[in-house]
């Protein structure tokens, strides 16, 4: 069965610093990969997705993610975090979601 692991439950980062959220998947074939963000009290919103092609994908709000087949990873990055990036982030492979990573941004 497919599964998604987000090793970091909670990350605290200073405003303006870079952010990287880790995601590993276990899947029979190359899955379709997604990153979603959930702000407090809101539903999930798609940040970016990978189906095929260029392994570095750009998303909304300045986020990007890199697919690495050899590591079964799809890590999310942002070069400079804004206070509004404080939220919970979910990695998904197909219909399987990780447990989420909560990001706190300190001034």
């Amino acid at each position: 069965a497919q599964s998604v692991t987000q090793p970091d439950i909670h990350i605290t980062v200073s405003e303006g610093a870079s952010l990287e959220l880790r995601c590993n998947y276990s899947y029979g074939a190359t899955p379709y990969l997604f990153w979603y963000v959930q702000s407090p009290g809101q539903g999930l919103q798609l940040l970016l997705k990978y189906f095929s092609g260029d392994t570095l994908v750009q998303g909304i709000k300045g986020f990007e993610a890199e697919f690495k087949r050899s590591q079964s990873s799809f890590n999310l990055r942002k070069p400079s975090v804004h206070w509004s990036d404080a939220a919970e982030y979910f990695c998904a492979a197909g219909l399987s979601f990780g447990a989420g990573t909560t990001v706190t941004v300190r001034a």
């Binding site: 987000q6 997604f34 979603y36 539903g43 919103q45 798609l46 189906f51 998904a92 197909g94 979601f97």
Partner: protein, 116 residues
Amino acid sequence: DVKVTQSSRYLVKRTGEKVFLECVQDMDHENMFWYRQDPGLGLRLIYFSYDVKMKEKGDIPEGYSVSREKKERFSLILESASTSQTSMYLCASSSSQGLTSTDTQYFGPGTRLTVL
């Protein structure tokens, strides 16, 4: 913009009650999904539907059923609510030609259900 709406943001029910959670999408999407979200567990798929009157079990269907009589509406039913079903319930929809997990899902705001 795709809009997915859920009938209630907050719901409080008693053990043993029958509970209906309603979800409506306005983008003519074929696929609709019900998840529950619990801290530390992320989202877990309860049921999904890829067409009217069609349904498929997800990872945790026990204690739940669903109904899809119209394309835009997908209902989650708790036949006899239990305290273990206290959770956040998220509905989503996606467009595709057939059943596929490839397309972006659009989520509703969620219903926080408390069973006493």
